[in-house]
């Protein structure tokens, strides 16, 4: 069995440090939408480093493949979950999902107007 304690220690140390900084960021931020961003480094960088450490140290294929599966599930599901949470927070706060002119989001409003024009053209044709 391959055993590289220095590489494994460095990878795990960086992963734990990222987790710690992100959890501190979660505590320090005031807005829930700002807090939502701090889960992303954990499920992308930290879990990736831990999976690499498992591949370096562990010779068991069962462990390796399951660790990769866990990392992939966390990575892809977290993006969906973050979007759903942000949507829920916005709807709870403002009681609507689409952007209104009073919110002053020019880029999103332009996209919305372009989309509405395309939809009306499609309906006419």
């Amino acid at each position: 069995m391959a055993y590289h304690p220095i590489i494994t220690g460095c990878l795990l140390g960086i992963a734990v440090l990222i987790c710690f900084l992100c959890s501190l960021g979660l505590m320090v931020m005031r807005d829930p939408l700002q807090r939502l961003h701090f889960a992303t480094p954990i499920v992308s960088i930290s879990i990736g480093l831990i999976v690499v450490a498992i591949w370096v140290e562990d010779g068991e294929w069962q462990s390796r493949i399951k660790a990769v599966l866990v990392a992939l599930i966390l990575f892809f599901m977290n993006s969906i979950l973050s979007h759903a949470t942000a949507r829920a927070i916005r709807i709870r706060k403002l009681e609507h999902w689409p952007v209104t002119p009073q919110e002053h989001m020019p880029l999103v409003q332009d996209r919305g107007e372009v989309g509405a024009q395309k939809r009306s053209k499609r309906e006419k044709s």
Partner: protein, 83 residues
């Protein structure tokens, strides 16, 4: 105590800020704290499985990662509509 268990202890410390946010924040903050805590708990289980050298235990973080996604979606839906 090996490297893996030391890292698991470090991740355990990271759960404390999530708990503080869950206890002290409003409803939206609590949901965000819960989601981050579930991701950290999955990593914690992964490290414990490797630390104890039991490959069959890797089913636990795998299951938790799937179930935490479902639970988070249900909570998000409830926060959006009913709570």
């Amino acid at each position: 105590m090996n490297l893996w268990l030391g890292a698991a202890a470090g991740i355990l410390v990271c759960l404390v800020p999530c708990g503080i946010v869950c206890f002290r924040g409003d409803l939206s903050d609590r949901l965000v704290g819960l989601e981050m805590a579930s991701a950290l708990a999955t990593i914690e289980l992964l490290l414990l499985c490797e630390g104890f050298g039991r490959p069959s235990f890797f089913d636990l973080p795998l299951t938790l990662s799937l179930l935490s996604f479902g639970g988070g979606m249900v909570f998000a839906r409830f926060v959006q509509r009913w709570l």
